[in-house]
Amino acid sequence: METQNFDDQFKSAFKGSEIGPSDEVWTNIELGLEKAESERMKRKLLFFKTLAAASVIFALSVAGAGFYFMKGYNAPTSIANVMNEKEQSNSIGIDSENSPKDFQTKEKNVNAVVPSQMKEDLPRDSQTLSKNDNIAQRNAEILKPQNRDLNSVSSEIQNFSTSLSGHENPNNTSLVETRKGNTVQAKSSDNFDERAGTRKENVFAFTYDDGLAEKLIGSRKVAIDIKPTQNKNEQVVEVDPVQAMMARLDQREKELLQDGNERNKNNGEDLWTSVGFAAGSFNPVGPSVSPNTTNQLIASNTAIAKQEAKASGTAYSVGVNLGKRLANRWILQGGVNYLAQASEYETGAAFQNSTFSSFRPASINEMDELAQADAMATNTRAVTTAPYTVNNNLQFLSLPLQAGYLVVDKKFGLQLNAGVATDLFLHNTKSTDTQGMDKIDQGIGESSPYRSINFSGLAGTEFSYKFSQRYRLSLNPGVRYPFNSVYKSHLGVQSVPLTFDVGLRFRYIFQ
């Protein structure tokens, strides 16, 4: 009971008691809130920076990987690779003496015979080749795939005729090719042994079903036909195996390119328009105030001007764009955007109006004007105040023009963009929450401290998703960096805001 009384007495004694803190506490709370706000902004900025950097790194990685694999795809054109494969096959082959390397290296001129029974499969053009056609072209025609539904290589070999009907030259390595549909069978003849009445053949099969394949089937001894029958229906063409291979690869590349073009035609994404918006933040890079003869007041109030010049803030834009595909992977796009940049800074100066009835935030161009007016006027119109926050809002009309490279051009798209934007200054407003302070609204022209026209560099990536035949949605992280200070050069105030933003665009594809 006594304990309760003791505690209750204390509780009662403090109930309703009040002690006033010092005035500094509220000032510190305000500073704490502003600090927390700026930290939140910094975190947001860091997020956007990280996002932009990550997307650029991702895009570059994808581009690099794409380039590597595209290059890698062309690698089979390297004869060395094919030869290595052949050598490896031969090393475990039936007869190592009769390696394909031999017939590749001994003689370049080899012969090929297209049996009459295969002629129907050949393209008409290949049967009417003129003598002036180069070998590569002719080979390409001969080796052009005609029929995708083929018997397997093994069955081809089983059906392969044992009669050798090609032109023979015992001193040269000869290559006899027989094609049926997508499969070309080839026999190289070397190790001619007239006394034994035999020769050895290396048998290859080339298939064109889903890619290039070349196999050494084996080697065998066949009897020499001393008097080979000259079948009038057979067409004899000379085939250089290296050139044949190159021609075959060229042909394949052309086919792929054609497929790609046809696919692009089917996509029909040649011209499009898009609407979108972007939001982000900007940070001036190296803001500075350098006094000169015409801006003495700015020089004397460097701190005030610097506060404005170094203010960071948020940026957003809305606009429409038009895009055109110039080449398979290159596009050009431009448009019209409304761009707004809002920042906050603290200042300790204000200007009185002509009737001295109200105040307005200090402006860099007004400082410049006052510096050129008489000193008395300057002293009466510019006043020092307690620190207060100014909200500065800049508005531009931006005309971007960008070139883009399509790293991935499928349902999911990845595009790298770079270009320039012409930024036309519209107007800016300076406002403050402080009571008794007027708002400033400055339009284009001499009354404004901002350049009427400025140019900015643009770079970014575009991740997109095509969700129907005509619509594509894209996410666009990017950076914007003006080539010049946003302030007029004669003011001596440098501020180049580097903007990171992330945009969302809705694209309509014209048919």
Binding site: E2, T3, N5, F6, D7, Q9, F10, K11, A13, F14, G16, S17, E18, I19, G20, P21, S22, E24, V25, W26, N28, I29, E30, G32, L33, A36, D433, Q435, G436
Partner: protein, 195 residues
């Protein structure tokens, strides 16, 4: 709102203050601060040794109040919610000291059965007495006697054992009684001269 644009916090309903603060309106934030700062200063003083320390706690706690007011769901009175933030902030401040000067169990002190009255002592003196207590005793006494937490809750809040909380409280009460008795005898001898 007065003519000079300042908001009179006592003219507004509590919900209006909350709504204004939720929008981040600085004038409403100041109004809320002015409405509660004097009461909360006493809370902060009870948990600190000096006025400067109390003001640091008050400042940090009010920043938390304005940052967290969007999460205030009105399940308790606004004053109770703000007081809780003050106490938690003060405990965070004092935890650093408690780390340096850890609480230890002390022998149970016999509490005199004589009834002690503090009615003749004003709250400023009582505040001084509380501030003069050792760190651990000061915090436990505030939490138990004035805020109304039980020893189990205090033990959880401070990361100590329940026994330590009890012994710290006993010690605090004993020390306070001694101070009150000393003060009372001073009054008996010199009357209000000290005041």
């Amino acid at each position: 709102m007065s003519e000079n644009g300042r908001i009179n916090p006592f003219m507004l309903h509590e919900q209006e203050l909350i709504d204004g603060c939720r929008k981040g309106d600085r004038s409403y934030q100041k109004a809320l601060y002015e409405h509660f700062c004097r009461k909360m200063m006493v809370v902060c003083l009870r948990y600190s040794k000096t006025t400067a320390e109390a003001e640091d706690i008050l400042q940090e706690a009010f920043v938390k109040v304005f940052q967290g007011i969007k999460k205030f769901r009105g399940e308790s009175k606004l004053e109770t919610w703000i007081t809780r933030i003050m106490v938690n902030t003060a405990l965070n401040f004092q935890r650093r000291k408690l780390y340096l000067f850890p609480m230890i169990d002390v022998e149970e002190i016999e509490i005199p059965e004589d009834e002690i009255s503090i009615s003749e002592i004003n709250f400023s003196q009582l505040l001084e007495m509380i501030q003069s207590l050792p760190h651990g005793c000061q915090i436990v006494f505030n939490l138990f006697a004035i805020e109304g937490y039980n020893h189990k809750e205090i033990a959880e809040m401070l990361g100590i054992s329940e026994g330590t909380s009890k012994s710290q409280y006993s010690r605090a009460r004993s020390l306070l009684q001694q101070k009150i008795l000393k003060e009372a005898s001073y009054y008996t001898r010199y009357g209000d001269a000290k005041l």
